[in-house]
Structure formats: C-alpha cells, structure tokens
Symmetry: D2
Subunit: 404 residues, 4 copies
C-alpha cells in the first residue's frame, strides 16, 4: 500500500526546514485575558462555575496555569476596573511575576457604569465624557507601573435608533478624547483601537469597522494602531484580507482571538472555521518573513466561556492557534508563488489545501518538548484534576464580575 512519509521528511522534500518551523513555534506568544477566568454569561443569565476565579490573584494564577501547560502564554491582559484597586498595581505585577507570568495589555472599562448609558467618549453628556477620559488617563498611569506595552481600547459607544444622536458630533468628541489619551502615553506604549459593528449598541457603533479604527489611529499618531477582534465583523467579511491590508499599511496592532458563527459569539478560536484561522495565520507568517512589514503584533485571546471550564477552554484555544500557525508554516511557498504568478487557480489553492490537511502533531510535539511542557496540553490538564481542585478551593466565593 502507498505510504505517506513522516511529516519532517515530507516537509524537507518540499524544501522546507522542519527545525526552523519548530523553532518558530517555540517563539509564538499568546496573551490570555484575566476576565476569561471569571464567570461570564449572556444577557439571559450566567451559569456559575465553582472553579471560576473570583479575584485578581486567582485570575493571574489561572493564566499562569495555562502558561505552565502550553509554554506560549507568558502574559495576561488586565481590565483596569476589575483587576485593580487603589494603588495595588505594584502588588499585581509582583504577584504575576511570582507565578511565572507578566502583565500584558491594559484594558480600561468605560461601558459598565451607569454614567455610560449613552456612551463614554461619544456621550452627549459632558460629565460622562470626562469620567471616561479620566479613567483612560488613569489606565495609562497604571500601565506605566505594570510595564504594559499596550493600551487596548474598546468602546461600547453607539446609538440604538436612527436620530438618537448626531453621529458626526460624536465622531469629533471621539477624536479629541483619543488624542488626549494618546498624548498622555509614554513612548513605550502603543494604543490599540478596537472596532465592532454592533452590540451593545444596535443601530450604530461609533467605531464600527477597521476603516474607522484606522482613521482614529491616524488622527492620533504612529503609535496608535488597529486591533482586530475576529468576532467583530459583519457576516461574510474576509478577515484574512483585512489583516493583509492592515499589515501592508503598517496599521495592524493586535488581535483579539475567538471564533463566531453569527455575531460576537466569543467562542473558542478556530472552533467554527479553523480553515479561516489558518488563512489568517498564512498572512501573519508571510508578514513575518517579509522584511518590509512590521510584524510586531499583540496576539491576545478574548473569549467568554459560559459553558466550558475556563482553564480547559483556554488551553484548547492555545492549541487551536498553535495548530493554525504550524500549518501556515508548512506551506510550500515556492510552488505557491509559482502557481499564483502563472494564474493556476486550482493549483495555487491546492497548496493551501495540502498544508491545511497535514497532521502537524510531530511539529507541535517537538516544540513542546523543547519548551518542557506536555506534548498534549489539554489531555494532560484534564488528567491533572486541577479543575476539580480549584472547584473545592473556590466554591462558594462570590462570583466575580461578569463580562466578556
């Protein structure tokens, strides 16, 4: 019977270097979010998990667990409102260090308080705008203490009805406030501006698409960039194309990874269309290989699991992302370029199909062994009994803040 060769041989036969692929896989970094370890839900309710983290330390500890099992999740994004109390930034930093991770992006929260009913930077109420501005400026200060490279901004601002407010007026409020925050950032900090087409606003969102993020970023300066959340697009949007366009413009700042079938469903990355995730990683891998492209990008997860155990879901997520990256690195680039230039449509596509359908476990196992983590992180974690142990420790504590 015809046999397929071992993966390393098959790759070598195509002129690829398996060793360098493994090396790149050990360098991958995926930031997980503190809020991903606490209880969260939908508007129809929250299903509480006994093992969910209930305070900042527990969230960071859970992020550290994910890093322990995967080796590629060394930092944790934090939410200013939920993760910090008065003057405890240093303590948070220190705690993170003690459990083996570092603080990543700083996320202000300007949507939860009652004052933000009509918006934050875009609200018709000057007091709400000022409160939001103050909070963002304070977040910059905390970010200085935590050594955060990124100030990650998402706004729930928008309107629910035609005529509810003046969209151009709100745009001008936004420009002014963003510029103020930008000017307060240290040189080492980059502003990431996230977009979203709808929810919680259901008629218009003040920063609705990447084009608007890009315009606001340009109005601020070079260290303001676009943040792509995979679930923040209208149905059908070609996210790989947007990524490629932003890379070429030098405007891609970072990602919020997740997956979705309908709207901002916040599902496990790669769970609905893993092939799309692979095409996005093809763009990223090619950008890394292109000296003309700035591929210094923040790879962050943003998911909201109300059914899956949190740590388990996050390890599963990391594996999905590693797999997509590994497959993108297995691309037979020589053949691909040749066929693309020759207009060989089916042949060029087939290069993608072939790389995607490889079983990349040998590459992932090699990278994990090199990093000293389990070859099958999810299996190892599930076998460890850690979730059950957390449940015992944490059961009964008050559910932490609910958001995704």
């Amino acid at each position: 019977m015809s046999a397929i060769p071992p993966l390393f041989e098959e790759l070598a036969a195509k002129g690829l270097d398996p060793e360098s692929i493994v090396e790149r896989l050990t360098k991958q970094e995926i930031e997980t979010p503190s809020w991903g370890y606490a209880n969260s839900g939908t508007r129809f309710g929250t299903f509480r998990q006994p093992w969910a983290a209930t305070n900042t330390q527990e969230k960071i500890a859970d992020a550290a667990t994910v890093h322990t099992y995967t080796g590629v999740a060394p930092s944790v994004a934090v939410h200013v409102k939920w993760d910090f109390e008065d003057d405890d930034a240093d303590a948070v930093v220190e705690y993170a260090r003690s459990v083996g991770v570092r603080i990543g992006a700083i996320n202000p929260n300007v949507f939860q308080d009652q004052e933000y009913k009509l918006g934050s930077f875009g609200s018709p109420d000057p007091a709400s705008r000022q409160k939001a501005l103050d909070h963002c400026l304070e977040s910059v200060e905390i970010g200085k203490k935590t050594g955060s490279r990124y100030l990650s901004l998402w706004f729930a601002d928008g309107t629910n009805y035609p005529g509810q407010d003046d969209m151009r007026k709100r745009k001008r409020y936004f420009t002014e406030a963003l510029q103020t925050v930008y000017n307060a950032m240290p040189e080492t900090m980059t502003m990431l501006i996230e977009y979203k087409p709808f929810e919680p606003a259901f008629y218009h969102t003040d920063i609705a698409d990447w084009g608007m993020s890009s315009a606001f970023a340009r109005a601020c300066g070079e260290r303001a960039k676009v943040l792509v959340d995979l679930g923040h697009h209208l149905q059908g949007a070609n996210v790989a194309h947007i990524v490629s366009f932003l890379l070429d413009e030098g405007e891609l700042g970072g990602f919020h990874f997740n997956d979705s079938k309908y709207a901002d469903d916040d599902l496990t990355t790669g769970s609905i269309n893993p092939f799309e995730l692979f095409t996005i990683y093809c763009e990223l891998a090619r950008a890394e290989e292109d000296p003309n492209i700035d591929a210094d990008i923040a790879y962050m997860v943003d998911q909201s699991h109300n059914l899956k155990p949190k740590i388990e879901a996050m390890i599963q997520t990391v594996e999905q992302i590693q797999r997509a990256y590994a497959k993108a690195l297995c691309m037979d680039l020589g053949t691909l370029r040749e066929r693309q230039d020759a207009g060989d449509v089916a042949g060029a596509e087939q290069c993608y199909v072939d790389a995607f359908n490889l079983d990349v476990r040998p590459l992932l196992y090699a990278a994990r062994e090199r990093m000293g983590v389990p070859t099958e992180p999810l299996q190892a974690y599930r076998a460890s009994g850690h979730t059950e142990k957390l449940a015992e420790e944490r059961r009964g504590r008050r559910g932490a803040s609910s958001l995704g």
Copy 2:
C-alpha cells in the same frame, strides 16, 4: 398650486371606505409583556431606570397605562417565573381586572436556572429535562387560572460547539416533552412555539427556524402553532413571505413584535425598517379579508429597552404598529390585483409605495377619538409627567429581574 385632497376623500376616490378602515383600527389588539416594564440590559450591563417596575403589580399597572393612552393594548403577557409566586394567580388576575387589563399569554421560563446550563427539553441531563417539563406543566395550570388562551414557548436550548451534543437525540427529547405539555393543555389553550436562529446558543439552536417550529407543532396537534418573533431571523430573511406561507398553511399562531438591524436587537417595532412592518401588515390585512384563512392571531410585543423609558417606548411601539396596519388598509386593492395579474411590476409595486407614503394620521385620530383616547398618545403621555411620578415612587426599590 396642485393640491392633494384630504385623506378620506382620496381613499374614497380609490373605492376604499374610510369608515370601515377606522372601524378596523379600533378593533386592533396588541398585547404588551410584563417583562417589558422592568429593567433589562445587555450582557455588558443593565442601565437601571428609576421608573422601572419592580414587581408584578407595577408591571401590570404600567401595561394598563399603555392601554389607557392607546385603547388597543387590553392584555398583558406574563412570565411564570417572574410574575407569580405560590398560589397567587387569582390575585394577579384580579389585580389586572382592577386596573382595566386582562392576563394574556403565559410564558414559562426554562432558561434562567443553573440546571438549564445545557438546555431544558433538549438537555442531556434527565433531571434538567424533568424540571423543565414540570415547570411547563405548572404553567399550563396557572394558565387555566388566568384564563390564558395561549401558552407561549421559547427555548434557549442549543449548543455552542460542533459535536457538543447529538442534535437528533435532542430533537427527539423535544418532541416527546412538547407532546406531553400539549396533551396537558385544556381545549381552550393554544400552544405557540417560537423559533430563533441563535443566542444564547451560538452553534445550533434546537428550534432554529419556522420550519422546525412547524414540524414540532405538527407532531403535537392542531392547537400547536408557530410564533414569529420579528427579530428571530437570519439577516435577509423575508419575514412577510414566511408570514404569508404560514397563514396559507393555517400554522401562524402569533407574533412577537420588535425590530432589529443585526440580530435579536429587540428594538422598537418599526424603528429600523417600517416599510417591512407595513409589508407584513399587508399580508395580515389581506388574510383578514380572506374567508379561507384563519386569521385568529396573537399580536404580542416583545422588546427589551435599556435606554428608553419603558411606558414611553411601549406607546411609541403601539403607534408604529397602528400606523403600519392603517397604511396596509389604505391599499388600492383593485388596482393592485389588476396590475399583479398583468405582470405590471413597477405598477403593482407602486400601489405599495403609494399606500405606504400616505399620512394616515386622519384615520388614526378618528379611531382614537372613537375609543376615547388621546389623538397623539405619545405626546400626551410625555406631557403627563407620569414617568417622573413613577420615578419618585419607585426610586430605590430593588431592580426587577432582567430579561427581554
């Protein structure tokens, strides 16, 4: 300058009878939901309103206020979980009567409790299925006491991930449970089965579209019908067509009115596409005129307002629905049928355009005067100071349950 004739004359010139249109407008009935008067929100938070109802009596009182101002909202839909405590069904009925409204559809709640994490009728857990069944059977009993004609069923059941559960197994669980509930209903009760494509389940919903509602209804019997919630469709669905198809099949049981731009946005009916609402009412008005069609349909509102004052929003909603119905009744049917049969595409469409662009206030004013309510209900309500009065009375009480 060319003048347009008064509306009644213009209609009469087309062979329509304005008096009978006014008569039909006074017969219109729109049921409002008890939960529409309490605080509600999105998964990102709830903006509390000081005037929001905080208990069942207040919700019913607010529904009565809407009826007082509009004259066409004589009943209120109730949620079993939120609106009833032990054995107080009779008291609820009596209170409603005392403020001038009656109890409408009974809505069980099988999605909020922790047991429903993986579903209710479709859950893999037998205890969850039994709990849901018991609750629905209890709802039937309450419905007997409240004299409700409708048992209105919406299920949050579904899965978030491919493979999470066996969809055919769940379908069979559903069929069996629905049949049990159906068989427990008195002859005077009709079961309405609602469908929804997604949210809070994000991969599959056990009753995802009208075809599934219809199949489950047929598996139950003649008094099981389909409930159309205007916001429970994928983008692009032609709701007027679905309504027309269900009318012809004798399977249309009722509506949940609202509007949406993206998903189940639960916005004010007619606020995003009033022309679509008009086309739906064209189907309904024509069905009323057709002796072969059973047009005994429950017209219910289901909206979730987190920004607009509740009563105000509901009166505005009622006005939008009245306007759509009035315009549908102004259709020049003779010309329309003639042009349709002649294949005069632009001409037939123009009949719709012309009816829709009429200013139907004269008809609405006449109907309201006949019913003894203000000619401009929203204006009158806003001028009354009632919202402010409620705020004073209710401020500080605990926010009621949050759902929409």
Copy 3:
C-alpha cells in the same frame, strides 16, 4: 374630528421654511446611467425588452426623457467600452446637448474582456494590468473631451479561493496603477473609487470596503474620493453612518443609488428600505447645511432592471430619491438637537419618525410646478404611451450589451 393642518402650515409651525425646502428640491440633481436603459440580466439569463435602448444615442435619448419628466436628471453617466467608438466623443457630447442633457461621469470597463479573467489592475498577468491601465488612461482622455468632472472606477478584481493569489502583492499593483491614472487626470477631474465586498469575485475583492477605497484614495491625492454604492455592503452595514463618517473626513465623492435585500441586487432605490434612504439623506441634508463640510457630491443611479421597463423604473427611482430628500428637509432640527443633547432617546428618534411619516407631495408638487414638469412624473409617463412607442421603433434591433 381632529384635523391635521396643511403641510406648509405644519412645517412653518415648527419653524421650517417650506419655500426654501421647495427651492432646495428644485436644485437637486440625480445622474442616470446610460447602461440602465439597455437590456441587462442575471447570470441565469436576460429577459429582453422590446423598448430597451440598443445604442448610445438611444440610451442618451432615454436619459433625456427621464429629465423631461422629472426636471432633476440633467446628466448621464457613460461607459467607455459600451458608449464610445473611435473618436466619437465629440459627437456623443453634441448629441446629448441636442436632447437636453449633458455627459456626466466617465466609467472605464476593465472587467468584461477575456484578459481580465484574473483581474485588471490586480491581475498576476502584466499584460492584463497594462491593458487595464491603457484603457483607464484613454478614459481620462475621453473624459476631457466630454467635460466630465468624474472618473468613476469600479473593479471586478479579486480571487475566488484562499491562496489563489497574494493579496498584498495585488494591493501594491493597485496602488501603483491608480496613482498613474490619477496623475494623468486634469485638475478639473475627480477620481471616484468604488468598493464592493463580493461578486463577481467570491473569496476576496481587492477593494472590498470603504476603508480600502479611502486608503487607495489617500495614496493618490486630494481629488481621489470614495464612491458609495448603496448595494455594495455586507448585510447589516450602517450605510448612513459610513456616509456621515466620510463626510466628516472630506472623503465622500459620490453615490451609486439602488436598493437591495440580500446582495448587490440593484433594485429600485428605496424599494426595500425607504427609511434607510431617508436616514442617508438626513446626513446629506445636514452636511449641506454645515459650512465645515464639503458637500459637493456626485449623486448617480446604478441599477439593473431586468423586469421593469427601463425609463419607467428610472422615473420611479428619481421620485423615491426626491421623496427621501424632501422628508429629510422636513426635520424639526431645533427639537432634534435639543433632545439629542438631553439624551432623550425616544424623543429624538421620534423627530425622525415624524418627518418620515409626512406626506410630502405638496412640497414635491410645488417644486415640480416650478420646474415645469408633471406633478406626478411616473403617472404622466405611464399615461404617455412612450414605452409602447419605443417598443415599436426598437423591436427587433439587436440587444445592446448586457451589464449592470
């Protein structure tokens, strides 16, 4: 019975000046497309109309007929490939003048020839790219002769499969070619760059959304702007918001008017959601009133009617656009701004609802009388027998080129 006052009085009571509204309505200009008068179809076939125009003169004559009946359609957009033969630009200009219209935007065609199989400016084939460039440069030359203010560019470029081609490479080809064309334009010419998310390319489109049009325009220069085709958006996109954003950025160059329910359906403007058209005109009307905004915009129709008679459809379209503009001009701006600033959500929205539900025929009739055209253009045209006359004249001639 309560009566509503005549429209002019009602407007005056709100502080609006009906006379100035009528004046603005007479100044409105809507350009119709030459290709809208010839046969067109879907990929499933073309239904030939005996009255369809079969050559450039007939198309221009039909556009002139629309202007005769409406008074607001004084120019006609032309397609270089379909409307010009060697050196006849002067003759075309002269013919247009003779029938009372002028030549409007110049539209190159770089999608129909076999060479464009893999794209035009973005093709991997250098010869295809050169052919497209030469054609666009020739179009600029023709535009100089026709005195066209606009070079209107739409590209069918894209790919059908992941991996088929390198999206960043294609983007760079596009930038270079667009800059070359831009530099060849006379000072009096503005480049309009159209975007479209899909069709005829079904995986990615090289200029997929307004953000990409905007980036390409910025790479060219100040006289390159964005063209918004109402049907070229993913489901749910808030087009009024995009329009408002582009107006504020000074990047809105023009429109292709039509309507759609699903994709690029090319239906009659306002036929599916006339309220959305109204919200777009609210943005446009407010921009005209704002001295800080450049509201010099090309208002063009782009529709493809395979069922409706062409001229009839175009007159109906013009009426829909006039109606939307008239209603937008009836906005009670003082009340609106006051309620918006006060956060009165329902009240501000109601200003939109009230303006939209007015019967604006008195304003339109006054404007039309002032322009000396029929008060009911569609009715007058249908009564004229012109379509039948054209059918007799043109029946049997070869169908003109099929495109939309």
Copy 4:
C-alpha cells in the same frame, strides 16, 4: 521525540476498524453535473475555456474522465433543456454506458426562456405556467427512458419588489403544479425539491427555505423530498443542523454540493469551510449507522467554475468530499457519546477537533488502490496532459450554454 502512531494503528487503538472505513470509502458515490463541464460565468461575463465541453457527448465524456480518476463518480446529472434534443434520450443513455458512466438525476429547466420572466409554476401568466408544466412532464418521460431515479427541481421563481405579486396565490399555483408532476412520475422516481433564498429573484423566492420545500413535498407525497444545496442558505444558517433535522424527519432527498462565502457562490465544495463540510458528513455517517434512518440520499455536485479548468475542479471537489467523509468515519464515537451525555462540552467538541485534524491520506490511498484509481487523482490528472489535449480538440467550437 514523541511520535504519533501510523493512522491505522491510532484508529484501531480507539476501537475503530480501519478496514471497514476503507470499505465504506469505496462505496461512496458522488454524481457530477453535465453543465459543470461547459462554460459558465457571472452576470459580468463568461471567461471561455478552450477545453470546455461544447455538447452533451463531451460533457458526459468529461464526467467519465472524473470517474476514471476517482472511482466514485459513476453517474452524471443532466439538464433536459441543454442535454437532449428530439428523441435522443436513448442515444444519450447508450453513449454514457459506452464511456463507463450512467445518467443520474433529470433536471428540467424552467427559468431560461423569455416566457419565464415572471416565473414558471408561480407566474401570473397562465401560458407560462402551462409551458413549465409541460416541460416538467416531458422531463419525467425522458427520465423514464434514462432510468433516472430522481427528478431534481429548482425554480428561479420569485419577485423583485414588495407588492409585485401575491405570494399566497403563487404558493397555490405551485402546489397544484407540483402535485400534477408528482402524479405523473413512475414509482421508481423520487422528486427532489430544491430551495434557495434569493437570486435571480431579489425580494422573495417562491421556495425560499427548507421549510417551504418540506411543505410542498408533503403536499405531494412520500416520494417527494427536500434537496439541500449547500450554497442556498442565508448567512449563518447551520446546514449540518438542517441536514440532521431532515434526516430525522425522513425528508432528506439529496444534496447539491458546493461552497460559498457570501451567497450562492458555487465554489469548490469544502474550499471555504472544510470543517463545516466535515460536520455535515458527521451527520450523514451517523445516519448511515442508524437503522432507524433512511439514508438513501442523492449526493450530487452543483458548481459553476468560471476560472478553474472544469475536470480539474471536479476532481478536486471529489477529493474534498472524500476527505470530509473519511474524517467523519474516524470519529471516536464511544468517547464522543460518553462526553456528550456527561455534558463535557470541551471534551465532546475535542472529539470532532481530533478527528478533523487527522491526515486521512492512508485511508484514501487504500480505498483508491482497492478501486484501481490513482492515489492522488488531482496530481495524476494534472500530470496527464488531458486538459491541454481537450483544448486542442475543442478550441474554436461554439461555447456551450452558460449556466450553473
């Protein structure tokens, strides 16, 4: 370094029988369509291919070539209008037999002729309805001669504008005509009723979704079933769920395979979301294993390639479908069912993820060797020079009919 075991061993270790999987793969049958070998295009034009089939014999020969290379495509679907002339059904059958394939489903064509401008079975014009009915009855007669088991019905019927026609009246026309055709079918023939939400009709489609197909099928009888075309759904529809629901109802008759990103894009099956194709095959594979389910289903391809060489595209398609089926057969069903019943969300999903990420080439190679076809059909075909040979033979012949 950790090694992964050979696939057959890994499967056996999970309790699966690789031999029986290989056996099932050799039994798979995929029908290709005659029209998929001729030139086709979009409304913007057709890019002619010199190797495209130009007549019925060539189309059948090309289908036979696909079968020669894959071993699982033994039949070819035919279009009555395009593939038959007077009384030549026997000759077509004989020719197919001579090249090693058989005639599959019969597809009437009631959309292309001018009479179908306003519809076929749903047209307001009685003559159009009669013509469509006659054509379908004639197709039944041809189907008797070709021994076709399936009469496959797709209707382009619908309207473009609200009000254009009476949707309930059209529904009744449809019911009556379908019943007439059904009653004319021999006992050995099954009617497949296809649905589609839009295009070429852009407001409503008379058979818009599976629920409508199902209702029409029930109105006919037991041998009328639903045909699922993968591209005929609104964005977000869960096709695997629809398939599972129809299987459970005993109403699933067949498939039209293809893939799409936006609308009815008619791309290569599995090219946009291969994981979704896999989830559909999971439903199908499980149904085959369930004695209570009738899994006698017509697996047909319906694609329209205007860029890829036709035979190449079809072989690539067959490979994608085989791969999806093979992966579905590798499911660790014992673990899956256990985790599903235990409510282990992440664990159950992971069974899907693991099966999907296997490299199933060893299974496909074994099946192909058993069938005596190349282990890599696409590679073998591309290496054969057959496309170039066809180009030489067919170049210059008139392009065949254009449709997809």
